[in-house]
Amino acid sequence: MSTIERRKERLDRGIKVRTEGIYAVSSWQEVTYLVLPRLILIVGLLLLPLLIPILGFSPYWKRVVSMAAIYGLLALGFDFLAHFVGLVSLGGAFFIGVGGYTAALLNKSLGLSPVFTIPMATVGGAIICTLLLLPALPLRGVYFAIVTLMYPLAIMRIIEALNIFGGTDGILGVAGFPNTWIEQYLIILIVIFALFGLRRLVNEDIGLVFRGVKDNDQSVRASGLSITLYKAIAVFIASGLGCLGGAYLAHIYMWAGISQFALDFSVIPIAATVIGGGGTLVGPLLGCFFLVPISEWLRTFGTLRIVFYSVILMAFIMFRSEGVMVYAQRKYHQFQRWVKV
C-alpha cells in the first residue's frame, strides 16, 4: 500500500491566452471562442419571448419573462455592489419600491407617459436611494447589511402609518404598456445593455478603484481618493438598476404598492447571485432566469417557495459557494490535470 500524493493543476487553455490580446481575429476558431458564449446569451435572451408561444406556454408566462428580467436587473446590482465594491445590500426591495412609487407618482400626478416616467424614475429614484443610504455608506460588512435590511421595512411602516401614497392600497391606475411584445423586448434589451455595460465598467479605471474599496479601503484612502464618494457612485449605479426595475414593474402591473417593498425582491436576487456565481455578473442574471420561473411555478404552495429558495441558497453557500458560472467559466477557460507532488 503506497499512496501517491497528487494535486490538481489548473492551466489556462492556449486559446484563452491567444484571444486575450489583439490577435483575436487571427482565426475563425479564436473568434468563435470569444464570441460564441456572448452570442448564445444574447440570442437566447432575445428568442425567449418568441419561444413561449411556440412551446405552448400560456400567455401568463410572458409576464414571467419580464419579471425574471426585472429580478435580473436587481441581481446585477446586488452582485456589482457585493463583489466589486464590497457592500452587501439586503434591501433590494428598497430600490424596487422607490423606483415603482416614483414612476407611479410621476405618471398619476403629472400625467407623463412611461417613455418619460421610466427614465425619470430611474435617475430620480437612484438619487433618492443614494441620498437616503448616504449616512450608511461609511459602514462596512454586517453594519451596512443590517441598515439596508431596515430601509424597506422602515419605508413600509412609514407609508402605512402616515397613510401617504395611497396607504395600504397603493397607487392604482398607472399607465401600462401598449402590448406584451414591447413590454418584454424593452426590458430584455435593457438587461443585456446593463450586463455588458457593467462588465465594461468594472474593468475601467473606476472599476479598479471599486475593487480597491472592497479589498483594502485604507489604501484607496491613502491614494487620496474619497471612499465614500466611490461608494456613493456604486450605490447610485446599483440603485439605478433597481429603480429601473421597480418603475418597469409599476407600469407592467399598472400599480405601485407596499408589496413592492416585500421580501421577495430582497431574497431572490441574493439567491440568484449565490447560485449563478458571485462576481461574474452573468451568473446572477442567469440565476434569475432560472429561479423566477421556478418561483412562479411554485406559487400555488404559497410562502413555501420562500422556504424553497432559502434552502437552495443555504445549500449553495455552504457547499458550492463559488456558484455555477464560476465553475463553467473555469471549465471553459482552463483545463486541469493531476500532477505528482
Binding site: 452587501v88 461609511p138 443590517i146 421595512l153 411602516r157 410562502t303 422556504v307 434552502v311 443555504m314 453557500i317
Partner: protein, 288 residues
C-alpha cells in the same frame, strides 16, 4: 406614571430579546439573523409540547429550552462553521436560515387559528392605580434574573470567562488553549436559549405569530446597534432608551410609529456614532 411603568416593562422585554443576539455577536462575531426565527420556534415548540404531547407547562418550558440549545448548537456545527469568517456568507446563510424557518412555519400547520401560551400566573395587580398583569411583572423579573445570571456567569465561571476572552481577543484566547469553535457552539446554544427564554416570557402576552419573528429580529438588532454590537452594558442601556422612546411615542403620537422609532434609532445612531454607545474597542473595524 403609566409611561414610567410601561416603559420599564417594555425596556425589559427589549433587553430580553436582544441579549441573545448580542451574546452571539459579541463572542463569535456572528450576526445571527435567524434570531427572530429561533424566538418564534420556541413559542411553537412550547405550544406543541403542551397541546400535542399533553405535557405540563412547567415541564415543557425547560424541555423546550434544552431543545433550543441543541438547535442553536446544531446550527453552528452544521451550517455556520462552514462559512465562518466570510462576513457576506455568514449574513446570507443566517438570513436564509431564518427566512426558511419563518416562512415554513407560516406555510405549515400553524395557521387558521390563534396560538397562545398560557400566562404563568393569572391575575392583575394595581401599582399606583394602574392595573398590571402578573405576566408583565414576571417579564421584568426574568429580565433582571437573566441579566444578573449573565453577569455572574461571565465573571465567575470558567466557561463564561473563556467566552469573554474570546470576545476580547480571539487569537490570545486561542493561545491559552480555548477552542474557538467550541466557544462559538456554546455561544450559539446560549443565544438560542436566551431567545427561547424571551419567547416564553413574552409570548403569553399575545398570540404566537410568524411576524413576531421579523419584529424581534429588527428590535434586537436595533437595541444591539444603538448599544454597540457585542456590548452587554450598552445593549441594556439601549433597551431602556428605545423602550421608553417607544412608549412615549405610543402615548403622544401614534402606535403605528412604534417600529419606526426603532428603525430611526438605528439610522441616527449609525450616522452619529456607528460603533454605538459602548462599542468603543472595535471602532476602526466598523467604520472607515
Amino acid at each position: 406614571m403609566d409611561i414610567l411603568i410601561y416603559g420599564i416593562i417594555n425596556s425589559f422585554s427589549l433587553a430580553l430579546m436582544a441579549i441573545g443576539f448580542t451574546l452571539v455577536y459579541g463572542i463569535s462575531r456572528l450576526p445571527n439573523f435567524a434570531h427572530g426565527a429561533l424566538y418564534v420556534i420556541t413559542g411553537f415548540l412550547v405550544w406543541s409540547l403542551i397541546n400535542l404531547l399533553k405535557l405540563h407547562y412547567a415541564i415543557s418550558i425547560p424541555l423546550a429550552l434544552i431543545i433550543m440549545g441543541l438547535v442553536g448548537a446544531a446550527i453552528y456545527r452544521f451550517v455556520l462553521i462552514r462559512v465562518r469568517g466570510m462576513a457576506t456568507s455568514e449574513i446570507i446563510a443566517t438570513y436564509a436560515l431564518g427566512l426558511a424557518i419563518l416562512e415554513f412555519l407560516r406555510w405549515g400547520g400553524f395557521k387558521g387559528m390563534t396560538y397562545t401560551l398560557p400566562v404563568f400566573i393569572e391575575g392583575k395587580i394595581d401599582i399606583s392605580g394602574i392595573p398590571i398583569d402578573f405576566q408583565r411583572i414576571i417579564v421584568v423579573g426574568i429580565g433582571i434574573v437573566v441579566v444578573a445570571f449573565m453577569w455572574l456567569f461571565t465573571h465567575f465561571n470558567k466557561i463564561g470567562l473563556a467566552l469573554r476572552g474570546m470576545a476580547q481577543d480571539e487569537h490570545a484566547a486561542m493561545m491559552l488553549g480555548i477552542d474557538s469553535d467550541w466557544m462559538a457552539v456554546i455561544a450559539m446554544a446560549m443565544g438560542s436559549i436566551l431567545a427561547g427564554i424571551s419567547a416564553i416570557a413574552l409570548l403569553p402576552l399575545g398570540n404566537i405569530v410568524v411576524e413576531a419573528g421579523y419584529n424581534v429580529l429588527i428590535l434586537s438588532i436595533a437595541v444591539c446597534i444603538v448599544g454597540g454590537l457585542g456590548s452587554w452594558v450598552g445593549a441594556i442601556l439601549a433597551a431602556f432608551m428605545i423602550g421608553f422612546l417607544q412608549i412615549i411615542t405610543v402615548a403622544y403620537i401614534q402606535s403605528h410609529f412604534q417600529m419606526v422609532v426603532a428603525l430611526l434609532a438605528i439610522i441616527i445612531t449609525l450616522i452619529l456614532r456607528p460603533s454605538g454607545l459602548f462599542g468603543r474597542q472595535k471602532e476602526l473595524e466598523e467604520r472607515v
